[in-house]
């Protein structure tokens, strides 16, 4: 229901946009497309799971299409639209212990996941506010989302403070590991973020983000299971979770053509998961800024959840249990190579941002998961 309402809202907004466009001729604009920023991206994702969970391998690939639009209604007012479509082209959830069971599961072959969002922004010279609504879902998951944010700049825009609030209300279809259905459950997620962006020098920018997320409802995986003395049982996790993180990032320009970014994040939650993430990106302009090369490395370390074990033995006092490999103690290494070709190669546009992007990423995890994804995107302005 929330998804249908969100789609109806998006359609109504598009109609409003079209109607508003008729007024542009009076303002001297050629069409309502004038000033519209467009971003499109095609992505391919593949993962190979070799041993994260001994009894279960999750191999799969996903094709993704993404569209982002930012249409100015006036100089300060904008309508924003985001749409994402994921199509799972192949997936094999191999349960060696239970090969006869082939019930439909989330992210099985042919499944489609949709995410849509429409919003409004008012950006003045030194402050701005925005809001958006959206919906996402697949056959086993549907959610409605809302968000609001605001920012304000001080000291000739050297300092920018921003706050955002994002909420999701989700409905989960309880298709369990053995194919039986339990009654549908709900999940609520509320995230707040406070960020500071500070210009330090003409070549140095500093960024600080504090995030806090509250979740309640059914927070375990619908399909996840554990093994207790070799017998499969459902995953069970608490019905609330408080999650926080602090992130710092610094960008340092080097001469006219290079830049280096360093960042670190400390994460904690009340399920006992502690994590540390560090990242670095080296950027280099070539051919008179017609090509930007970004070379990135990201390291992620997490201590496992209090409730995590690879397998369990019977214990009548234990309430919570998970063998989800994503919540296990692990180290992750990610490499990124991104090439961005300036729009000046294709048009008279002289923007310092945007262009055609080609990106490849590889991520390997210490507990057996390998992932890679390729992106082809375009960002430009009419």
């Amino acid at each position: 229901m929330q998804l249908r309402q969100s789609l109806a809202f998006a359609l109504a907004t598009l109609i409003t946009l079209s109607a508003a466009g008729t007024g542009y001729a009076k303002d001297g604009k050629k069409s309502w497309l004038d000033g519209m920023k467009v971003g499109v991206q095609l992505g391919y994702f593949n993962q190979v799971d070799n041993g994260s969970i001994p009894q279960l391998d999750e191999n799969g690939s996903v094709f993704q299409a993404m569209l982002m639009l930012d249409t100015p209604l006036t100089k300060e007012d904008h309508i924003t639209i985001r749409a994402i479509l994921d199509v799972i082209s192949s997936a094999s959830i191999v349960r060696d212990h239970n090969q006869s069971w082939r019930a439909l599961q989330s992210e099985a072959t042919g499944d489609v996941h949709f995410d849509g969002q429409v919003g409004y922004r008012h950006d003045d010279n030194v402050w701005g506010v925005g809001t958006h609504v959206g919906g996402s879902g697949d056959f086993a998951y549907q959610s409605g989302a809302f968000g609001a944010d605001g920012w304000v700049s001080f000291f000739e825009k050297d300092t920018t403070l921003a706050y955002s609030l994002e909420g999701y209300y989700a409905s989960l279809q309880m298709i369990r590991f053995d194919g039986h259905y339990d009654p549908a459950q709900t999940r609520t997620t509320l995230t707040q973020a406070l960020t500071l962006t500070q210009v330090l020098t003409p070549l140095t920018v500093f960024y600080l983000a504090l995030n806090y997320t509250h979740q309640d409802g059914f927070l375990a995986g619908m399909f996840n299971s554990v093994f207790i003395d070799g017998v499969e049982a459902v995953e069970n996790l608490p019905s609330t979770r408080e999650r926080g993180s602090a992130t710092v990032r610094v960008k340092q320009g080097i001469g006219e053509d290079q830049a280096l970014e360093l960042g670190a994040r400390e994460y904690f939650d009340d399920w006992g998961l502690l994590a540390f993430t560090a990242m670095s990106t080296y950027s280099l302009y070539l051919f008179e800024h017609m090509l930007l090369i970004d070379l990135g490395y990201r390291y992620h370390h997490q201590a496992g959840l209090d409730y995590y074990q690879k397998s369990f033995t019977a214990d009548p006092n234990r309430v919570f249990q998970t063998s989800d490999a994503d919540l296990a103690p692990l180290d992750g290494h990610q490499g990124t190579l991104r090439l961005t070709f300036s729009n000046e190669l294709f048009s008279k546009e002289t923007s310092e941002t945007g262009g055609v992007t080609v990106e490849g990423d590889y991520y390997t995890r210490s507990n057996g998961l390998d992932m890679m994804w390729l992106l082809l995107g375009y960002r430009g302005e009419f």
């Binding site: 499109v40 991206q41 992505g43 994702f45 993704q64 993404m66 996941h113 996402s136 959610s143 989302a145 000739e156 050297d158 300092t159 994002e166 909420g167 999701y168 989700a170 997620t189 995230t191 973020a193 962006t197 500070q198 210009v199 020098t201 003409p202 500093f206 960024y207 983000a209 995030n211 997320t213 995986g221 999650r243 993180s245 602090a246 992130t247 710092v248 960008k251 320009g253 830049a259 400390e266 994460y267 994590a275 993430t277 302009y285 992620h300 994503d326 919540l327 692990l330 991104r338 961005t340 310092e352 941002t353 945007g354 262009g355 990106e359 995890r365 992932m371 992106l375 995107g377 960002r379």
Partner: protein, 79 residues
Amino acid sequence: MSPALMARKLLVLLLGILAASTLSACVTVRFNEKKRLGQEAMIFDANPLAAQMSGKIAESREGAIGGFNSGGAGGCGCN
């Protein structure tokens, strides 16, 4: 406390001190000196499409959320 944990806390502390000194400095960089800061290479997450995809992948396959490319959990049935 393990040496790795101590090192991590020290790093965050140092970066926090840097943040505090940043705020106290309130250095004003003149408008005509900011041309370089408008370039793609100098903007955090300048490519929102690529950031969205990478952020979502990390968010759904790691236990942590927030900070890098990602606002928080939600939008999928994952943990």
